[in-house]
């Protein structure tokens, strides 16, 4: 029995070790993840509290309190919304001699004591109230976005490569079907499936998790749909010529995993290394999640998320042109 076991054990080891792509990926992938996280969160530990500051704060007193991150604020209305949503613990308008605190926020209450206990007793309080944006509220758009990304990339990219490898594309090439017709069918098919699945997950989750949704449903739908088309098009580029499923899987992993970690699915990119924040902007997932979060958590309208939609549109056009140009049936 041991002899047979050993024979299979050795054969399997050789099979794995000689598959250079799989071996390389297995070695490289964890290293890349650890290195990525180490780089993203390099520098000083994250501060405990966040205070928005409108105007120029004096470099003394409350504004030198340790473990508090003081964030310059240009848009006072947007900052007040953040206090309402518990995303800022306190907001101080230096020139107007007033401050905003959410009476439902324990962190805000504590910071208010620190503020008034220092040399700022003359500031007028502007109380606001608002529901706490919990992690589940914050993470939901990211999780939906991640689901769309995997469905788009693997559902189109991987499937087309498989079709090419097993001869389905060759068979279709022998018919009057054009490449553009074939690709368009793939895009439309995957898009409606993505939209349907996202809607089921969204409303299904809403039945047992009372998550925040301050914006318009149609606007949110548009953000997800445009993100979906963009990532489907990205999948077409990857699948345009590859005929090896193993190589395609490696490529898709190489793209999807960094995108999942660096597009703000699980954690906010605020406080990460500036290079990471810049890198994140090349990923369509970042723009889709930003737009979806703005709609769901801040009640943003179409105009407010137009920049993200514009970027997604431009990326989609680029991917489609490249994908159609590169595409080969065989």
């Amino acid at each position: 029995m041991m002899k047979r076991l050993l024979a299979v054990f050795i054969a399997r080891n050789k099979e794995f070790l000689r598959d250079r792509a799989a071996l390389g990926w297995n070695l490289l992938f964890p290293v890349l993840i650890v290195a990525g996280f180490a780089f993203a969160f390099s520098g000083a530990p994250a501060p405990l509290y966040k205070v928005g500051v409108a105007g120029t704060a004096p470099p003394s007193g409350f504004f030198t309190t340790p473990h508090v991150q003081f964030i310059a604020v240009d848009d006072l209305a947007a900052a007040i919304t953040k206090v309402e949503r518990h995303r800022l613990d306190l907001l101080v308008d230096v020139a107007g001699a007033r401050y905003w605190v959410n009476d439902e926020s324990p962190r805000g209450q504590l910071l208010e004591r620190v503020l008034l206990g220092s040399d700022n007793a003359a500031l007028r309080k502007q109380a606001v109230s608002g529901r706490l944006i919990r992690y589940v509220d914050w993470v939901l758009p990211g999780v939906l976005g991640m689901n769309i990304m995997f469905s788009a990339l693997y559902g189109v990219g991987f499937v087309i490569v498989r079709y090419r490898k097993n001869g389905v594309l060759k068979r279709l090439k022998a018919t009057p079907l054009s490449a553009i017709e074939f690709l368009a069918a793939q895009i439309v098919s995957r898009l409606w499936l993505i939209v349907a699945v996202v809607m089921v997950v969204f409303f299904g989750t809403h039945l047992f998790v009372d998550f925040a949704m301050y914006g318009n449903y149609l606007t949110l739908f548009l953000a997800f749909a445009m993100g979906g088309i963009c990532m489907i098009s990205m999948g077409l580029v990857i699948a345009a010529r590859i005929a090896s499923e193993e190589f395609a899987e490696g490529m898709l992993n190489l793209i999807s995993w960094p995108m999942m970690f660096l597009s703000g699915v699980w954690f906010s990119l605020e406080g990460t290394h500036p290079l990471v924040q810049k890198l994140a902007m090349i990923f369509p997932l970042t723009h889709m999640i930003d737009a979806a979060r703005a709609v769901m958590l801040d009640g943003a309208g179409l105009a407010a998320i137009a920049p993200q939609l514009g970027v997604l549109l431009a990326m989609t056009a680029g991917f489609l042109v490249i994908g159609a140009w590169l595409f080969r049936w065989e």
Binding site: Y163, G167, R171, K173, A174, T175
Partner: protein, 293 residues
Amino acid sequence: MSALIEVDNLVKHYQGVRAVDGISFTIPRGACIGLLGPNGAGKTTTVEMLEGIKEPTSGSIRYQGEPLGAKFRREAGIMFQSTALQEFITVRETLRMFRSLYDHGVALDELIDACALHSFLDRDTRKLSGGQRQRLLLAIALVNDPQVVFLDEPTTGLDPQARRMLWELVRDIRRRGKTVLLTTHYMEEAYELCDEIIIMDQGRIIAHGSPDDLLARHFHDVVLQLPKADFTAGVLPQLTALDCGDSVEILTSAVTDTVQQLLAGGVSLDRLRIRARTLDDLFLELTGKELRT
């Protein structure tokens, strides 16, 4: 018969290898042409160029006098040697999908009857037997009511019963006036179905004609087969006996004389078999290779 397809000086290079090396032939309308050759002879490359799947390096292929184009794709039916179908869809759905790709075609019910697909119409294509799968692939090749049908090794891997059923379907296609180009490893299949055969080796055509003509042109003898145990070497020095493992083969054009010589030599003829020369023999004669090597 007028030519449906004309092939002129066709060449295909693969990284320095001349897979197809300047071949020319015509396929008459309504004929069944068999393309034979061992693996690596260039027949699949040739067929794929004729199907419009691969671009020739040089030379021309004309369909009804025109270069291969949209008209050819509308009017050609192709059964590839190995084709995967989209998964999780049934036979009926697969037929509907392919039928929808063509403006003109046959009614699905007619196709289902012709290819005997009734018993597994609603079965997932992954769960078909070898014979059922080949019949479905043949039906797909016929879905557009093609003028010319390419069948690339359609019976490879099938049991004898399934193979004969497919032959009957091919004969039915021919009865409808379609032109057929068949590649096969099975000589019996080529002999049964084809009006003409083209034998290729190393990218070139080495023989072209009707099976009977080719055999008559190259052979004037038959083969006598005897178990080696029944044949004593050296008894008949005037006969040339080929050692074929457990048996010996004697080539002769005068069967009666040879049999009398064997009897006179004391050889038992109880297990004697006499067979005519085959296309396998022809190929061996022409190239020195077995047909399936």
